[in-house]
């Protein structure tokens, strides 16, 4: 599943069976290893949900168990928002530019990032060394693995 596919997907609270918002963006950890949460509303103003709080990331909706939670918490310590990832310059470990980030592919069952899609082609997740203020840095010696089913 890709980040760009997930935009505008409804977020549904299972306990009340109501839609509480729409996904406007996902967030990952600084190492770009896994999806850590999602944002709702413009610039996340309708709240955020951490990955652990989600019940399922479905093709038509994202669900969570509201239980007796109060208003959705403002989570997000150490999160890298997709706004800081999509369009970000890609730099090789040797110091050469390799294009920019177009999309991110992740496993909706586990939240694991599988690959970063760049303008010059896909980059397997193990090749990503990190993302910072200037660029996403990539180890070019890591080969793509066999395609996942």
């Amino acid at each position: 599943m890709r980040f760009r596919e997930v935009k505008s997907r409804p977020v549904v609270d299972l306990t009340t069976a109501t839609r509480v918002g729409t996904v406007t963006g996902l967030a990952v950890d600084a190492g770009v290893r896994r999806v850590v949460g999602l944002r709702m509303g413009r610039r996340g103003k309708d709240g955020s949900l951490a990955w652990e709080d989600l019940a399922a990331f479905g093709a038509d909706a994202v669900t969570f168990d509201g239980g007796d939670r109060g208003p959705l918490a403002e989570t997000g310590e150490g999160w890298v928002d997709e706004g800081d990832l999509l369009g970000r310059r890609i730099l090789s470990e040797q110091g050469n530019e390799l294009g920019s980030v177009v999309d991110v592919e992740f496993d909706p069952a586990t939240g694991r990032v599988e690959q970063v899609v760049g303008t010059a082609g896909p980059i397997p997740a193990p090749a990503v060394l990190g993302v910072g203020t200037y660029a996403l840095v990539v180890d070019e010696s890591v080969e793509p693995g066999p395609p996942t089913g």
């Binding site: 730099l91 060394l129 990190g130 993302v131 910072g132 660029a135 840095v137």
Partner: protein, 191 residues
């Protein structure tokens, strides 16, 4: 194929950590003539209003040199400038502007830049030279001479073996081949 780059074209490149943060930019390249190597770089801060940084980047802390950035493992790579520059006297440091003579006494011009082979183990492979009556480059081009393994320094002149002059090229892409040929010849001539 090794990519070659002139050291002074590194000026202005960002210094980036492996986690993607730009922590400085290259202000100037510091050379040691006697050791025929780069000692390191002086730095400016990032941003239009940033001036020179107190820290410098020693050559040993460079993780990789590319066309678009100088990579370091972390911000710890930057060190106090005096320590980085301590390896050479002021005269030693100034390879730019030195005259180059062959050991046969032919003047080959002045050093205007240093040519590096890029990658994770960057190294100096030659000099850019110019301004000699004896050599003429095609319109708008510079001349490049491969670095022999020993350079004698005589006053402000660098003395190179006459054989090196046979491998002078005026295009950077062809110069890579000339460097390889020159080194192969040096290896053959070793006792």
């Amino acid at each position: 194929m090794t990519v070659l780059q002139r050291a002074r074209s590194l000026i202005g490149l960002p210094v980036v950590t492996l986690t993607g943060d730009d922590i400085a930019e290259i202000k100037d390249v510091v050379f040691s003539v006697a050791a025929a190597q780069i000692l390191g770089f002086t730095l400016n801060g990032r941003g239009f209003l940033s001036g020179p940084l107190k820290e410098s980047l020693p050559w040993s802390a460079v993780h990789g040199l590319g066309r678009d950035a100088v990579m370091v493992r972390s911000a710890d790579a930057l060190q106090a400038a005096e320590e980085v520059l301590a390896g050479a006297s002021p005269v030693d440091r100034n390879v730019i502007g030195n005259r180059v003579l062959t050991d046969g006494g032919t003047d080959l011009g002045e050093v205007s830049d240093v040519v590096l082979a890029l990658g994770t183990k960057p190294e100096i492979v030659g000099y850019e030279i110019g301004g000699s009556e004896n050599l003429r480059a095609r319109e708008g081009r510079h001349l490049y001479i491969p670095l022999p393994d020993t350079i004698a320094v005589s006053g402000e002149a660098l003395v190179v073996p006459a054989a090196a002059a046979e491998y002078i090229r005026d295009d950077l892409s062809g110069f890579g081949g000339a460097v390889d040929d020159f080194r192969a010849r040096l290896r053959k001539e070793k006792p």
